[in-house]
C-alpha cells in the first residue's frame, strides 16, 4: 500500500442533528461511515436536505458532533474548535461574499490566508515581500485578477472573488480541502473556467478534496470518486474505473430511485 491510499479522513458512526438541544431535534446525518484516502478528489452529490452542508459543517467544526468519531490523519477532531481545525482544513463557500474580506485588498486577503491556522503576532505583516509571489499566483487564474492586487475584494466580480477564495484556500496546502458548491453562484462560462482551474490545482498539488456540486457533468468529469448522500446516509460510493464508467443516466436513475422511495 503506498502513501496515496492511506486513509486521511475517517468518519465513524457520525450522527449530527439540527435544532440540537431542543425537543424537535432531528438527525441530519445518521451514523455515517466514510473513509477518504489521501489524494482522493471526491464529488459529493445529493438532493436538497440530504445532509451535504451539514457534513461539511461537522467536518469544519461549525457544528458540534454529539455522537461518533471524526478523525483527520488519525487525530480525533470532535472537540477541536473551527479555528483550530483551520490549520488542516480549508474551505471555499458557495456565496462569493463569505470567502473574502470585502474592504481589504486582494493582496491583504491572500496575506491573511497565507497564515491560515497560525498564531498572529505583533510582527509587521510584510505585505511588500509577498507581492511578487501573489502576482504570480493570481496570474495562474487567468481571469484578470493579477491586475487587481490592490483592489478591495468588494469591487471584484463574483467569479474573481470565488477564484480568490479558492487561491486563499489552497495557497497554504491544506490536508483537506472542502469545496461547498464553489461554482454554483457563477455563470456557466466562469463556472467551467474555475472548475478547470480547481481540477488542475487539486491534481498538481495532490490535494485531498471533497466537493459538493449540483452539476452532474462536473461530478462525472472531475475527481476519482463520487458519493451520493441521501437522508443523512451514503447511498452510493464509487471510485476509480467504476466511477469513470458512470454516466449521467446512471446518476439520474439513482436520484429517480430516491424520489420514488421518498414518495
Amino acid at each position: 500500500m503506498n502513501a496515496e491510499n492511506q486513509p486521511i479522513l475517517v468518519l465513524k458512526d457520525l450522527s449530527v442533528a439540527a435544532n440540537q438541544a431542543t425537543p424537535e431535534q432531528n438527525l441530519i446525518l445518521k451514523q455515517l461511515n466514510l473513509t477518504i484516502n489521501a489524494g482522493d478528489f471526491v464529488s459529493v452529490l445529493g438532493t436538497n436536505g440530504a445532509g451535504k452542508s451539514t457534513l461539511f459543517n461537522a467536518i469544519a467544526g461549525n457544528l458540534p458532533i454529539p455522537t461518533g468519531e471524526l478523525r483527520l490523519n488519525g487525530h480525533l477532531l470532535n472537540s477541536l474548535s473551527a479555528e483550530k481545525r483551520s490549520r488542516y482544513i480549508a474551505r471555499v463557500f458557495q456565496d462569493p461574499k463569505l470567502g473574502t474580506a470585502p474592504r481589504m485588498t486582494v493582496a491583504e486577503n491572500l496575506l491573511l490566508a497565507l497564515h491560515r491556522g497560525q498564531r498572529r503576532t505583533l510582527k509587521p505583516r510584510g505585505l511588500k515581500q509577498q507581492r511578487a509571489n501573489f502576482q504570480r499566483l493570481l496570474a495562474t487564474m487567468g481571469n484578470g485578477l493579477a491586475e487587481h492586487l490592490d483592489t478591495p475584494a468588494e469591487n471584484l466580480s463574483g467569479g474573481q472573488r470565488q477564484a480568490l477564495s479558492f487561491l486563499m484556500a489552497t495557497e497554504r496546502q491544506p490536508d483537506l480541502l472542502l469545496l461547498d458548491e464553489h461554482t454554483a453562484a457563477l455563470d456557466p462560462k466562469t463556472s467551467d473556467q474555475l472548475m478547470a482551474q480547481t481540477n488542475q490545482v487539486v491534481t498538481e498539488q495532490q490535494l485531498t478534496c471533497l466537493m459538493i456540486t449540483h452539476h452532474l457533468e462536473d461530478a462525472l468529469k472531475y475527481g476519482n470518486r463520487l458519493i451520493i448522500l441521501s437522508t443523512g446516509q451514503i447511498l452510493l460510493d464509487v471510485s476509480g474505473t467504476e466511477k469513470a464508467a458512470l454516466t449521467k443516466t446512471d446518476i439520474l436513475a439513482y436520484f429517480g430511485q430516491l424520489a420514488s422511495v421518498e414518495n
Partner: protein, 298 residues
Amino acid sequence: MSMIVSAIGQGLLWAILGVALFLTFRILNFADMTVEGTFPLGAAVAVTSITNQLAPTAALGLAFLAGAAAGLITGLLYTKGKVPILLAGILVMTACLSINLRIMGTSNISLLGQATIFSNHFLKSLPRYFDSVLVGLIAVILITGLLIYFLQTDLGQAFIVTGDNPIMAQSIGINTDGMTILGLMVSNGLIALSGALIAQSNGYADVNMGIGIIVIALASIIIGEVVFGNLTLNQRLVAVTLGSIIYRFVILIVLQLGFSTNDLNLISAIILAICLMLPQFSHKLKLDQLFRKGVSRS
C-alpha cells in the same frame, strides 16, 4: 486668536476619543455604548489618583487599565454571554455610573492646587492654550502612530478582518471572540485615557461628564469622513483628528451665534445627524455630480 488656539487644543485632546471609538465603530462595525461610562471612569480614576498624590502620568496609566477592564466586561458579555452588543455596552455604562461614584466618593472632585500633566514649567511658559495644543498633539501622534503600527501587523490584520468578515476570519483560524474583546479593551482603555486627559485639562472630574460623549466621538469620525472622502485606513485614522478639530470650530461658531453651552448636546446631536445623512442626500440630490459638473466647466 486665542479662541482659535483653544479650539485646536480642545480638538486635539478630544480627538483621542474619536480615534479610540474608530476601532469599534468603523473596524469592528458596531456602536459601543460602554464609552459613556469609561470616559468618566478614566476621569474619576485619574483625579482620585492625583488627589492621592500619585504622579499625573501614572494616573493616566491607571485610567487606561480601568477603561480596558470595563471593555473586557463588555467584550465577555457580548462574545461569551451572547448579550447583544448595544445592550452589553449599556449595561457596563450604567454599572460604571455607580463605580465612578464609589471611586470618587462624591460627584465632583476639583484638581485645584494639584499637580497635573499641565503643571510642568515648560508648558506654563507657553502662551495661553498652547499647553493643550502641545499635550494634545503629542498624545494624538503617539496613539495614532501606535495604532497604525498595530493595524499593519499580523495581529492587527486579524483584528481588521474580524470586523470585515467574521465567517471568513474564523475559517482561516482567527479567534474572532478574542479579537473583539481585544478591540473593546484597547478602545475603552484609550477612551478612559482621554477622559483622564480632559479631566486634567479642565481641572476637575464630574460623574456626569460622560453624557453625550459617544455623539462627540462619532461626530469626529463622521466629519472626518464627510470632509476628506475616500481614504486608506491609516489616512482615515488621521482624518478623525482633523474631524475633531473641525467639530470644535463648528461649536465655537455656534456659541458665537449666541447659543448657550446648555444647548451643546442638542447642537452636537444635530451636527452629527446632518453629517450622517449627508451621503444619502448628496446622492439623492446628485450633489456630487453637481460639484463635478462645476469643476469640469470651470
